[in-house]
């Protein structure tokens, strides 16, 4: 809104080179600014917002602490939790660095070219070179920016992106050298994940707001609007599985799937919706409106440079990694191997390792996301909104009602499996009916065949 608020002022104000809000505050009664409520200083309300979000951070980190939270199930000593938290953060940052390389290589191969292969063998040191480059680049803070918020926004993004991964179970109890292979075990697991990942929007929004650039502002407005729209379908798509399992705890969801079969079999529509909305959540290609390069330079991080820009990238990739860990945890049996493989005696014993299957599944979904990015185009903004509110949201609601009915009338769980199959059938019929007929090839005139 900053640039819009400037409208009501005379041309001389620009020459003064002052922050318009400082000017309003210093020089008595200000002319009523266009599109702004008179006399109110938006910067103050934003500071309130910031302090509120900081309070929320503190509250959430308290909730995440196994010793204080009533909902957490404390099993490990605190120092071990600390080590595991460090490992998760270190692992995520390394994974981020190498995801950039893997993504660039894979995208290159999809575009039939080589990709970065100059730094080190096969380009393996490219992330290190990138890190050094982005640290030593000039760190510009825009002169008119709201400096505190400008600096804090990338930190907020990264912090909230890092907070969710600790919930994901990587194996059975005591699998990590006698300790549990998860950082925290919350009974409100999924709720916590949503609460925290939702907060990451603040990073994006504040970044756009604080940079005082039209591109940044438009980018951040877009991304917050789209993220909020997609959160809705994302949350509702998960209600049905939660209802069926009867627990928000990720570990218990995995256990339920071990006993009853993967949730994707019962919850195919919910899985599809969750997959799509996760893509939007991580701002990946079909939904990468926030940084539509062709339209918005780079979106909310236009004014950011050096390591602060890298932090935004980091947050984005960590969201992606978290999403591709959440999808298998909730729908594809988590760290357990596929059930039918366990029947085979030799392989069953060989592959029953705690971490392996989770990593395989994460890698699978990361590949899928890159593959989609290499293929699909970006949706227009209105298409994005229509797709979210007009398609995904009603679908998620309808499936939730169906699942609720099945649970309420105590029908066998297999009913949901049949309903999933039915929905697949309906979907494929819909696809075939709406498929455009192949354009008739008219023979070229004149040219001999």
């Amino acid at each position: 809104m900053m640039s819009l608020c400037n409208r009501g002022q005379g041309p001389g104000d620009r020459a003064q080179g002052l922050n318009p809000f400082e000017r309003i505050a210093s020089s008595g009664p200000a002319p009523t600014p266009y599109l702004c409520s008179a006399g109110q200083n938006p910067a103050i309300s934003l500071q309130k917002l910031l302090s509120f979000s900081l309070l929320l951070i503190a509250g959430l980190s308290l909730a995440a602490d196994p010793t204080t939270a009533a909902t957490a199930n404390p099993t490990d000593p605190l120092w071990m939790v600390g080590i595991k938290a460090f490992l998760v953060i270190f692992g995520l940052l390394t994974a981020f660095a190498y995801m950039t390389l893997i993504e660039r290589r894979l995208l290159a191969r999809i575009q039939i070219r080589q990709g970065p292969n100059r730094v080190g063998p096969n380009g393996l040191f490219q992330p290190i070179a990138d890190a050094i480059k982005s640290i030593f680049k000039e760190d510009i803070i825009v002169a008119r920016a709201d400096k505190v918020i400008f600096v804090m926004a990338p930190l907020i993004s990264v912090t909230f992106a890092l907070l969710t991964f600790g919930l994901i179970p990587f194996g059975p109890k005591d699998a990590f050298f006698g300790y549990d292979p998860w950082v925290i075990d919350l009974d409100v697991g999924i709720l916590y994940v949503f609460a925290v990942s939702e907060m990451a929007i603040y990073g994006i929004f504040l970044a756009g707001w604080a940079s005082k650039s039209k591109y940044s502002l438009l980018g951040s407005l877009r991304s917050s609007a789209s993220l909020i729209s997609y959160e809705l379908a994302l949350g509702i798509s998960l209600l049905a599985p939660v209802l069926l399992v009867g627990s928000l705890n990720l570990r218990e969801i995995v256990e339920w799937q071990y006993q009853n079969g993967w949730l994707v079999l019962y919850m195919l529509p919910a899985f599809a919706i969750f997959l799509l909305t996760s893509m939007a959540e991580a701002a990946r290609t079909p939904f990468d409106l926030p940084e539509a390069e062709q339209e918005l330079v780079s979106g909310y991080n236009t004014e950011y440079s050096s390591i602060k820009w890298a932090l935004f990238q980091m947050a984005e990739y960590i969201h992606l990694i978290t999403a591709s860990a959440m999808i298998p945890t909730i729908f594809l049996g988590g760290w357990r191997m596929p059930g039918f493989l366990e029947q085979i005696p030799l392989i069953g014993g060989l592959f029953a390792l705690p971490f392996v299957w989770m990593f395989v599944k994460i890698a699978l979904f990361l590949f899928f996301f890159i593959w989609v990015r290499g293929t699909l185009f970006r949706l227009r903004y209105d298409q994005l909104m229509v797709f979210s509110w007009g398609r995904l949201f009603p679908l998620a609601l309808a499936w939730f009602v169906l699942a609720a009915l099945v649970v309420a009338f105590k029908l066998p769980t297999a009913t949901l499996g049949w309903l999933s199959l039915l929905s697949l059938l309906v979907f494929s019929v819909y696809v075939t009916l709406t498929a455009k007929p192949k354009p008739r090839v008219t023979p070229r005139m004149g040219a001999g065949d």
């Binding site: 894979l106 999809i110 575009q111 039939i112 080589q114 989609v372 699909l376 498929a435």
Partner: protein
């Protein structure tokens, strides 16, 4: 936007993912050139070792960029340089002016000047871009900077290209050794 089309496009990219890249990591791998590539000129010789060039200057006349300078001299009948009456005492091409159009090759009545394959001629001084006979005769390998580097390192000239075959006009030119 039909979903079938989306699935089809996903298939296309997956196929592309497993195909061989069309780009070449050039300084590491040779660039595959077509046999009729227009590179650095080659002054060819007859099988008996005599130069084909008779110093007629038709190439210089045909050159649209005025890049060629020829100075002819009479052959010594007992010890001829070329197969004709005269030979090119000086034959210079300014590679900075040359547009590699190949008109000199078309104008040449004896097929003496032929477009070769060398293209790595980047250098530091203007004077180093004027290639004389000693830089263009068939037996000379590589360009000026390549030969300078080869003399410095003691290794043979490393050529950055490969050709499926050498066209017959380039009499005596051997294709680069492939590893």
């Amino acid at each position: 936007m039909s979903i079938a089309a989306l699935a089809q496009s996903m298939g296309i990219t997956l196929k592309a993912l497993f195909s061989k890249p069309v780009t070449i990591p050039y300084p590491d791998a040779p660039v595959p050139l077509k046999p009729r590539f227009h590179g650095r000129h080659v002054l060819t010789r007859h099988p008996n070792g005599l130069e084909k060039c008779i110093g007629c200057s038709l190439c210089a006349a045909a050159c649209p960029a005025y890049a060629i300078y020829v100075e002819a001299a009479e052959n010594d009948p007992h010890n001829p340089v070329s197969a004709g009456e005269r030979y090119a005492r000086v034959y210079e091409i300014n590679m900075l002016r040359c547009i590699f159009c190949g008109l000199c090759e078309e104008a040449c009545p004896t097929g003496a000047v032929v477009m070769g394959y060398d293209f790595e001629m980047a250098d530091y001084r203007y004077s180093d871009f004027v290639y004389g006979k000693e830089d263009m005769l068939v037996e000379v390998q590589g360009t000026k900077p390549q030969r300078r580097e080869a003399a410095y390192t003691g290794k043979p000239v490393k050529k950055g290209y490969s050709v499926p075959y050498v066209r017959p006009e380039l009499e005596g030119v051997k294709p680069p050794q492939q590893k």
